[in-house]
């Protein structure tokens, strides 16, 4: 998306274009210490949002609140207009539409690659076993790992594991993909292959929220960058604005360190 288009969508945003909206989101693990201290944020369909910020600033917690892996202390999270922090919401159903990719892959070690990918859609009866397998093989072909279908995770490299983990999430046909530092646990030579898969996804207009320290990726892929520090969105903007003309002293300080 060009900058102009982004601005236009910003102005003419119809409610149905918003996938996730957080309102005054707070989270604390221990009394008195707010890890998220009032996050208001809107994520639109087809948008790629990259979240950066210093370690311990609350990026992971923010991401994990979005699919309720962490329960917010207060505030609202609207997913397609429904407040998922409300009582009685079927979170399993909400999560089925939100893919998540973890720093440490979290593949199921006792399942083959194929079963890792097909287990959830088949168990949740979203796809028949045949459909799920076909879908999985198609996705594996896309990342060039179809010959690993019958392998176990322990037989894969880190980069392969993470690509499979991405495919596992994609197999659910999610509306949005959440990534929590997907390349931070990888050997440097494997970072590229994972980022490439993510870039492909971005090209296909997948809605993505990506926590990462890969500034090159952020610059190239992000429609918008959120800078989260001490539980606040301190600053946000297009990569252009953010990297070339940061406003806040903390942002400048951070960028000076990582760039």
């Amino acid at each position: 998306m060009t900058e102009l288009e982004t601005m236009q969508t910003n102005e003419t945003v119809a409610p149905s274009d918003v996938i996730i909206e957080t309102r005054d989101l707070h989270k604390s693990f221990v009394k008195g210490k707010m890890v998220l201290d009032g996050i208001d944020c809107t994520i639109r369909r087809g948008e790629q949002v990259v979240v950066i910020g210093p370690s311990g600033g609350g990026k992971s917690t923010f991401l994990r609140c979005l699919n309720m892996l962490e329960t917010p202390t207060s505030g609202q999270i609207l997913v397609n207009g429904e407040d998922i922090t409300a009582k009685g919401v079927d979170l399993d159903k909400v999560r089925a539409k939100m893919g998540m990719v973890f720093q440490h892959f979290n593949l199921f070690p006792h399942f083959t690659v194929l079963k890792n990918i097909t287990f959830a859609p088949v168990t949740l009866k979203l796809q028949t076993p045949e459909e799920a397998e076909e879908n999985a093989m198609r996705l594996l072909r896309r990342i060039g790992l179809e010959e690993k279908a019958e392998a176990y995770p322990s037989q894969l490299s880190g980069g392969q594991k993470q690509r499979i983990a991405i495919v596992r999430a994609l197999a659910m046909n999610p509306e949005i993909m959440l990534f929590d530092e997907p390349t931070s646990a990888l050997d440097p030579e494997m970072v590229g292959e994972v980022l490439d898969v993510m870039k492909e996804l971005a090209k296909d207009n997948m809605t993505m929220v990506v926590v990462t320290h890969e500034m090159g990726f952020a610059r190239e892929v992000a429609d918008r960058i959120l800078f989260i520090d001490q539980g606040h969105i301190l600053e946000q903007g297009t990569p252009e604005e953010f990297f070339n003309n940061p406003q806040q002293p903390r942002t400048k300080e951070f960028l000076a360190k990582v760039l």
Binding site: D92, V94, M98, H110, T123, A165
Partner: protein
């Protein structure tokens, strides 16, 4: 010199006659074999029952701790483990045999159930440790895919937990094998009871008791060998 030879000859003669009347005469070795069979059956089935019960309790306790759900079930499980671990197994068996299953004509089954229920309370702790040792990321991955807590537990976490605790379950089987030696009072002819019955005919306690001690020891050593081998193999598969 002659005295020494006579002594060994005497010992040899005693062993030969004792062996003969303990094992050979009236095919009494069959009694021991049948006894050993019962001992193994009860220990094995009780272990399986114990693992099933233990896994169930561990899952309930873990889900309750993680999500606060299953309050009532959790309370029942707590009561169960407290009672079972707070009373002697022999008393539990007596209650099973004379009260719960009064007039039962199947003492082996009562023994299996009694020891299984007892073992379950201990295996629950083993399983809980095994579940805790599974990376929390596995649960998070399962839940993030929209799988329920129960499915995630049963299909993702538990299989890995059981693998972690297989050696410990092997050790539980070994303990049960020894503990079942009290089962005779229910009328089950296990290995120990077999020895007692033979003694009642030969009036010689030395040989049969030592003999079954050696049998227990032999079986335990064999099982230990396999458990150790299993431990090594699991450790290796974890590394790759």
């Amino acid at each position: 010199m002659n005295a020494i030879i006579d002594f060994f000859k005497g010992v040899g003669d005693y062993l030969a006659t004792a062996f003969d009347k303990t094992f050979i005469r009236e095919a009494r070795y069959m009694m021991f074999l049948d006894g050993l069979k019962n001992t193994l059956i009860i220990a094995l089935c009780a272990t399986i029952l114990g693992v099933a019960i233990g896994a169930l309790i561990a899952m309930v306790k873990t889900v309750h701790k993680q999500s606060g759900k299953l309050k009532l079930l959790n309370a029942i499980c707590e009561a169960y483990t407290t009672i079972i671990r707070g009373t002697p197994v022999v008393v539990q068996l007596l209650i099973m045999y004379f009260i719960v299953f009064a007039n039962s004509t199947r003492p082996v089954l009562v023994g299996i159930i009694g020891f299984g229920i007892n073992s379950g309370a201990y295996v629950a702790e083993i399983m809980r440790a095994g579940i805790n040792a599974v990376d929390i990321g596995q649960t998070e991955a399962g839940r993030s895919l929209g799988l329920s807590h129960g499915v995630t537990m049963r299909s993702i976490v538990l299989p890995q937990a059981i693998k972690n605790v297989l050696p410990a379950i092997g050790n539980e089987f070994i303990s049960l094998l020894k503990e079942t030696s009290v089962i005779g009072f229910l009328g089950v002819i296990d290995l120990t009871k077999a020895a007692q019955r033979v003694i009642s005919r030969t009036a010689d306690p030395y040989f049969p008791y030592i003999a079954i001690a050696l049998v227990y020891l032999g079986v335990v050593c064999i099982l230990n060998y396999f458990v150790t081998k299993l431990e090594k193999r699991l450790a290796k598969s974890d590394r790759t």
